[in-house]
Symmetry: C2
Subunit: 588 residues, 2 copies
């Protein structure tokens, strides 16, 4: 991997749950890396390919991006890395929330969680503060959901700390267990959701990480004024862009429901159809209307972390006007809505809140419920039935454990042959036959199927730059998107923003990165090289773990069964799919 | 694949469950192939790599070996092939029983089951008789175990037909569901056990295949006298060999318990130890003593199919002297005994009988129970607890479905990090650290971990030809064993016999094969080439399915944790493991 000049030595905090030690480590081997570039490289170097994801050889690595914790807008994100129990390949799961920003402000470039307690049910809290890091017994938190866990910890550590926690699912080491993180209002609404890294945290006996940066001051930036100018320009660009400045501000990611439905790419009834009758009831506009009618004030937007001028999130209010949770993101709306033939937003909110509290990935859970519907165990459209099943996750019944193990496992246990997953992880809310670039991403991403790891829907179906229903050009489109994603996941930049807000925007990001991180990227192209190197590292790790090029396929039915009026199938040739990683593995 | 001169056109019976048609097809593309060589080649050519194993694209192929159905001794076996729902790679599962012999006598070289009924719960019986093949509705058999299924069908088709059936597990498409076959006493004690091919049969809505060869006569052999001479010599060689003629005749495969324990290779408590305190209670000698004491006659040996001079099987009698089932094979004894810290043979018989009736693979079920013990759901050594769990398979409770999905799925659902599987299938009863050749087979076989796909224990730990606790020479040993296995699986020859009964024995096999099949193999070496070609085909299919060389690994803990006094680890280098298939895939 290309080395860049770094500001000084890097600072890792290694926490060993076998020896119960916390040790700072100065390091110069990883200079010039941050966020996903850093987690993936550390996993590659320190975790054997045939390691069991829940074994002591696996590590959980948490790293802020280049800009996380600075005043740069929409860069509050951090990376969580490890070998995934769900995909059994490498995983970087990206999250908002305040804890990553606080880690960065404390000068911690990576938190490396390793080892495993000898006692199987030992449970700890890691407390990281100016006074030093320490591991504390946490038996009193056993069996609590994320909400109660944060509430209890807040009594001790206050509401200004940042929390990363696991719910019952993580303690049970369920394959889709996630790691929840608190937002600026100290609620665990955010998280590193996909790939089961909460189970890795649980396997290490770690219930929570408390990050308290009190007294640590701001991040030191050399040319403060120049940085502030970049920040100002970047905010301006974000707010001037119609998507980030208007659409997302108004409806958040739920704006996608109507858009995706309108082009026939809204996967309905487990990818049987591309449009959903009830889409209107789940559109961003409807959801916003309902929220306002139920008494929420217009300007009550919420952000996942401080410093985001968009603030794409909102509370959800029930019929009596009580705040009962968060307005779900599009992927959750899709996976629990059209996917299951459910058009009741209140039911979707209820499911999402349960999943968030128990700590499982909503997307994979939605698809796991679809598998139960395929098997006839729950009826299509039966929201109440779904809610009952989800509740079983927290009590760990066999059915709860199955669901918490994700869609592919549920489908396999129930003998279903229509399993919408690739490399163990469920597909997302963009039909890969209508947006074939997304299909290529689902098939080839080293993360397993994932919408956020190379988003092509906009160029496929909105701008029409690369028409989504044709196979041509999709591999290139997806490859470029995957490289960009790996780069902005290393910056800490929000994927909804990305690099294309304005023509000048990438220069602001590059400029701020250099000033913060001591790197000397000349332009976006050089920053993207970090993304490419990261992807190559991830691909090589997967190859070492038994997942190679030939695993980069979509489920057969998507290649055989047409969707929409034109009965469009997924027909990007295998040679195109293979080409992506073959090119990458042979160098650049 | 090398083509050999064939006696005439081959005869396939294609049965399509979507169109409900049965069609004979003369074919010359597969001349010179039989058994596993034929099933694997057909799967390779007719099933797409990303086919869902339970989808309509998958096929179930049943093919007798070259000598199956002739008077050649110990050659009654047939091959069942398909894409495995358990390993998700190619599968050939080999079985005794009389149905394969009858298929061969009817002149059917391969039964190709394809398609899938549109109605999800449709259930059929395929009846193949001289009068022609036909598909019949079989709703009255729904939910029956193998025993009742055969009993019911026998009322209609008589006790002289051969039956291949699935139990509840196959109907539920459970991943370890197997295909049971009847022995000469018309009991479904035999089967194509591993890899879930019963689920493939179930996914096609096929409950049973009845093969009635009445009126079809003997297999035509050109030089009858020469053939008869080979048969005589072969029987003599088998009976003169101390293993096949004495040990196996006396105690069957249960003779292995004491042998494997004596060299410290008996995997105990899920591979924590290499010896078991209770091994004596499960030794072949003890089991035989018990049987005789309980009233069985000394000479009441049983065979899996007619024409076997060994007859390695026996009834098992309960304390009251009633025949309650079959004496379990070594692998079942191991997986339910030492593996679970159970030393009660009656309990093991009870578990085995339930599994055989429901139609799930005993080995993977034993290891699945070990996973529950690892998770603390059932206590180590608790035979009663195990029996209760196994019973849930037939009723399809969530826990029953998990167990029926095999060890790896069970381990994953229950968050276990000590999962003794490779490529989705559980390891067998020979510790791969003490018999490293077996370890190489477990890791590299295209079938997923499997003792029968390349047996190295004898050379490793009995003859000491290639000492089992050293890494050197193991890859070569395993490769040769895998090639031989693929060859005798194509002949229909029993793996307990193999090619090494006597120096001249291979010549008898080659000679008989040529006389029966019209091939012109000059020597064993040429027959082995068929094995090599078959392995290459299987490896290529797996590669196409996303399983490549890098998946050929054992679980990490076996490489880290020593067993026995010398704390021996599995340390065959990855480059040796990779070398096997790299050499094969580059041709020879």
């Amino acid at each position: 991997m290309k080395k860049k000049k770094w500001r000084n030595l890097m600072n890792f905090l290694r926490v060993n749950l076998e020896r119960l030690t916390c040790q700072f480590e100065e390091n110069k081997d990883y200079q010039g890396l941050a966020g996903r570039a850093l987690t993936s490289r550390l996993i590659f170097n320190e975790v054997p390919g045939n390691a069991h994801p829940l074994g002591k050889e696996n590590k959980l690595i948490i790293a802020p991006g280049y800009l996380t914790g600075t005043a740069a807008p929409c860069t509050g994100r951090f990376s969580v890395g490890g070998k995934s129990p769900l995909t059994r390949g490498i995983k970087e799961s990206n999250s908002g929330g305040v804890a990553g920003q606080k880690l960065a402000r404390m000068g911690i470039d990576a938190l490396v969680i390793e080892g495993m307690p000898e006692k199987k049910d030992a449970l700890y809290v890691l407390h990281v503060a100016k006074s030093g890091p320490r591991l504390l017994k946490a038996d009193e938190l056993r069996g609590l959901g994320n909400n109660d866990t944060v509430a209890r910890l807040t009594k001790t550590y206050g509401s200004k700390a940042g929390y990363m926690t696991i719910g019952q699912a993580g303690e049970m080491r369920l394959l889709t267990a996630n790691l929840a993180t608190t937002d600026p209002e100290n609620r665990p609404t955010r998280g590193a959701r996909r790939g089961g890294l909460g189970a890795v945290m649980g396997s290490k006996g770690l219930k929570a990480i408390v990050v308290d940066d009190e007294g640590c001051g701001e991040i030191r930036i050399k040319e403060k004024e120049q940085f502030a100018k970049y920040v100002k320009d970047a905010v301006k660009a974000i707010m001037a862009n119609p998507l980030t400045g208007e659409a997302l501000k108004a409806a958040g990611t739920s704006v996608m429901t109507a858009l995706v439905n309108s082009v026939g790419a809204l996967p309905t009834k487990n990818f049987r159809f591309g449009t959903f009758e009830g889409a209107e009831k789940l559109s961003g506009e409807t959801l916003l209307d309902m929220t306002l009618k139920r008494g929420e004030k217009g300007k009550e937007n919420k952000r996942c972390s401080n410093g985001c001028p968009i603030a794409c999130s909102r509370w959800w209010l029930d019929e009596r006007g009580e705040r009962v949770g968060k307005r779900p993101e599009y992927e959750v709306i899709w996976s629990h809505g059209p996917n299951l033939l459910i058009d009741d937003p209140d039911a979707i909110v209820e499911m999402n809140e349960l999943e968030t509290d128990f700590g499982i990935d909503g997307m994979d859970t939605g698809m796991a419920l679809a598998m139960l519907m395929e098997a006839g165990t729950v009826a299509w459209g039966d929201a109440k039935g779904c809610i009952e099943v989800i509740k079983e996750v927290s009590t760990g019944t066999p059915l709860g454990r199955i669901i918490g193990s994700g869609a592919e496992m549920t489908g396999r246990v129930f003998g279903v042959n229509r399993i919408s997953c690739s490399k163990g992880q469920c597909l997302s809310g963009y039909d890969p036959r209508i947006s074939k670039g997304m299909g290529v991403t689902y098939a080839t991403s080293p993360m397993g199927s994932d919408n956020t790891s190379g988003f092509c829907f906009a160029q496929n179906c909105l701008s029409g730059e690369v028409p989504g229903d044709r196979p041509e050009g999709q591999a290139e489109l997806s490859f470029n998107a995957q490289v960009e994603t790996a780069a902005f996941d290393s910056v800490g930049l929000c994927g909804l923003v990305g690099f294309h807000v304005s023509e000048e925007f990438p220069n602001y990001i590059v400029g701020m990165t250099n000033l913060r991180a001591g790197t000397s990227f000349e332009n976006l192209e050089e920053l993207l090289q970090i993304g490419k190197d990261t992807l190559r590292t991830e691909f090589e790790f997967n190859r070492r773990s038994g997942i190679s090029v030939s695993a980069n396929r979509l489920p057969h039915f998507l290649c055989e069964e047409g969707v929409g009026e034109k009965k469009t199938k997924f027909d990007v040739p295998n040679v195109d799919l293979d080409g992506i990683w073959e090119a990458l593995s042979s160098g650049d």
